[in-house]
Symmetry: C3
Subunit: 372 residues, 3 copies
């Protein structure tokens, strides 16, 4: 006996902008993977769960059959143009609110443009390392840099829904948990400024990364932390969220919440942290998007230890409007399959399943980010 | 074609006592989580797999509908009183033997009281760190402490079914595998006694923890080791049972068996150790209790590499009589779902499934702990 | 609505020889486990997923019922004799090409003998550590050893399909990623030769292990790397393929491909590496063989992140011809269950499922190893 679980418009608490122009097949393909290299000879990134999910869910929103030939889909996309394609896909995604990390490079749509195309609301998440790198452009002393970062974080906290850190792939999550002393921060800032003069702009210094984390924590806004898989420049085992245990302990009681993003394949570890630390949340986003037909299985693993009030939906979509659709469909399919299955078995009451679905789809994010 | 897999009365080879008095909603809720903090604002620990499992399985044993409103369930509990509630729940759990770790603090029932309420048999497991902390109360020199610990372990081995170590959350499992030399043990004992005079009573010294492990191994009784998730004061990745590989190698041939408790989310690692080391066993307890509707999925992961003669049932129940019920039902449901499914597919013969179910439910524990 | 997914003759890209003589029950049992010790008292390695899989799939190929009593199966085996048993089992396995790692000790069949018995084609994989240990027999100076290794690897590359390293259980995968400088290699070679004169023959020196890896990479042939579970002398967490991230980065662009073998329980980590590095492949072999009825579940986890053009079938069969059958059946069953299930759900198109099945079964290996 199947149970119907209706979902409200989704709050996508972690996504990015989309590219503006039309895309050829090669540039389209490049957005289907976290790799920064072309696919191996004899293979294509369309032959992945992400590729198959795009071919399943997106053609119908553009008036084609699911799994239609790729060439036909891309032709239809060109026929409609980039803007109309984005509009149709985003409005078909069922997402009502876009909480956008604006820290990615490239000519991507702003949160306002994205929300306008999708017919939804929007908020911004400020990426700490990008903020520091932008600020460093205008500073010529360590003292100035430290002060300018503090001001920029404070200013951002007036409007941003939260902050995000990519420490996981800049250094790894195995950082000393406490805030670094001011003297160390100044020294590290000086060393980084000197390195920037020699052409190295990326922020990878662990003292500065920790300082950014604690500066964000001091605002009391939620702090999103990349954990688990994603960009190819990380070492996966250095992105295990369990490495954040001491940081979670150190930030308990500060009033700031931590949101563990992505987490896969360490999502059970992330769920454990969300279970034992009241201020830790976990995100099922990127994982569900990338595993396609396996979204239900991965979602169910999250739901083993994570308290149901601590899980958040996101797509982590980036570049292609298609990825908002696949992320949202992966989530809705997972909810139907997993929660629906438990109701059918008698393990859960139908009313509880509906309530939990609504919490993960939107309510938890609304409460955490204080959205209307 | 469904196969019926009957189970004998279960041997719960790792559980604790229950609280004696009546419980209000907040104190009841606190037992549903491994966290030591109140639930995050806007959330409740009832919204977890453990909470949903209690609401599924326990109301019928008290004459109510599954998933009935929580207030009604707690009212019925008060109406019956703590003792009668415990009696009804424990006798409805299908557990026939309680092997009780008596090392937890708090006013909990003794093994004899628990078994009397549940109408079953009982044995005791002695927790090494608690034993050492109790012994240290009466010792004023390192020599006296070392001797008193040796005597206490020896005395306990006359009646206990085995020992248990919580090294995983006192220090982590990354310990040197060999027994520490006597001189080192004496020095560490002296340092700890001095620290105790300053008010620090918890045993966290790795030399003493290793010494306790080897003292227990010398008795030849099974040694239970906490691994994986559980108390919030652990670092999950320091509790990966794979860290015990060298200790397993060092204790092979001593005659003592090692029992890896809980293991989640590293239960596949635990199953590997049980596969390659004849004296290593693994426990499916706490994991199944906590993951509720996912018990079958986690149990199936254990059954990938673990030899069927090496897996043990437990509830790790503590405080609430409800948790014996949910642990036992999670296990029985997992057996039905997983083993029953394999029989239906033709992967396993029905007779084998029944035999394996009986082994994990009771026979393996009877053989390991030499129970009647 | 079930979809039929036909598979071509399989390319088993990683297997070993089989034993020549008849086997008693104890020696037969020893091949069902990765342990080097007899089963624990009161247990048997037949009570494992591997044992149950042998009893499911092999009796029918010898004219008996699935799951027939073990004694009957072994009697039938003796009646047929070792050669005829092997012939019937191998020809019933559906394997068409055997790519054989010849580095195991013991009196095992050669690749040609194996292929003749199975009626298939064959190629050889040369195990680097064995090659170095063989070469060391004839060298009396570090210079001679270094030169002889270079020549032997070069000579092997003329005929071998690829190389294999067991660094994972000789030292662990946490090696410095870059090639060691020649001076260090010479020094390490000298130290090892001296140790050999004292009776220590196993190659465990990390400098020499790295040198072998880079010598193999220089040939441009695929390099198989043991990762994850397997032999009992490894520490599982030191065999996590994520530890190879820096080595993967260092070898990108050399023209040599890396093939991560086994991977379990870190197969999601392996799939991630195959996703982000074009020259990294992953193997589902030993895991599926050992987890029996769970093969579909583990295969599905591989298919979350691994691009479909990067996965390879193998059995890692060794000693018993039965293990070729169970490895192949585990794979075919997994394909039917997992890919068939996705087609039934509408997640995948049937034509895509058939295409992906053929890629993993044979096409990917043919392309990678340049097989006809």
């Amino acid at each position: 006996m199947a149970v119907v679980i209706e979902l409200p418009p989704l709050v996508d608490h972690h996504c990015h902008g989309i590219v503006r122009g039309d895309l050829g097949i090669a540039s389209f393909e490049a957005y289907l993977t976290e790799s920064d290299a072309p696919a191996a000879s004899g293979t294509t990134y369309f032959d992945t769960q992400t590729g198959f999910a795009v071919r399943r869910w997106c053609p119908p929103l553009l008036g084609l059959e699911p799994h239609c030939p790729l060439a036909r889909y891309l032709a239809r996309r060109r026929e409609l143009g980039a803007y109309e394609t984005a509009r149709l896909l985003l409005r078909g995604s069922g997402i009502g609110t876009y909480v956008v990390d604006t820290g990615l490079p490239g000519d991507l749509t702003t949160p306002a443009e994205l929300a306008a195309a999708g017919g939804g609301a929007e908020r911004e998440i400020v990426r700490l390392e990008r903020l520091a790198e932008d600020v460093a452009e205008t500073c010529d002393s360590a003292e100035a840099l430290v002060e300018a970062v503090a001001e920029a974080v404070h200013a951002a906290s007036d409007t941003a829904a939260g902050f995000k850190s990519i420490t996981a792939y800049r250094h790894g999550l195995g950082l000393a948990p406490e805030p670094p002393p001011p003297g160390e921060v100044r020294r590290a800032a000086g060393t980084w400024l000197a390195a920037r003069r020699d052409g190295g702009t990326r922020l990878t210094d662990p003292v500065l990364l920790r300082h950014l984390l604690w500066t964000a924590v001091a605002t009391g806004l939620p702090l999103q932390l990349h954990t688990g898989f994603g960009d190819p420049d990380l070492r996966l085992h250095h992105a295990d969220p369990a490495l954040l245990t001491d940081f979670a302990r150190a930030t308990a009681g500060t009033g700031a919440d931590l949101v563990l993003l992505h987490c896969y394949p360490y999502h059970r570890q992330a769920a454990y942290l969300a279970n034992v630390f009241p201020h830790v949340y976990a995100d099922v986003g990127l994982a569900l998007t990338h595993v396609g037909a396996r979204a239900g299985a991965v979602f169910a693993e999250f739901l083993e230890l994570a308290p149901f009030g601590k899980l958040l939906f996101s797509t982590d979509a980036y570049g292609l409007p298609e990825l908002y659709v696949t992320g949202a469909e992966a989530f809705r399919g997972a909810v139907r399959e997993v929660l629906g299955g438990w109701v059918a078995d008698g393990a859960w009451a139908a009313a509880d399943a509906r309530r939990v679905a609504g919490m993960v789809a939107a309510d938890n994010a609304r409460r955490l980010y204080r959205l209307p």
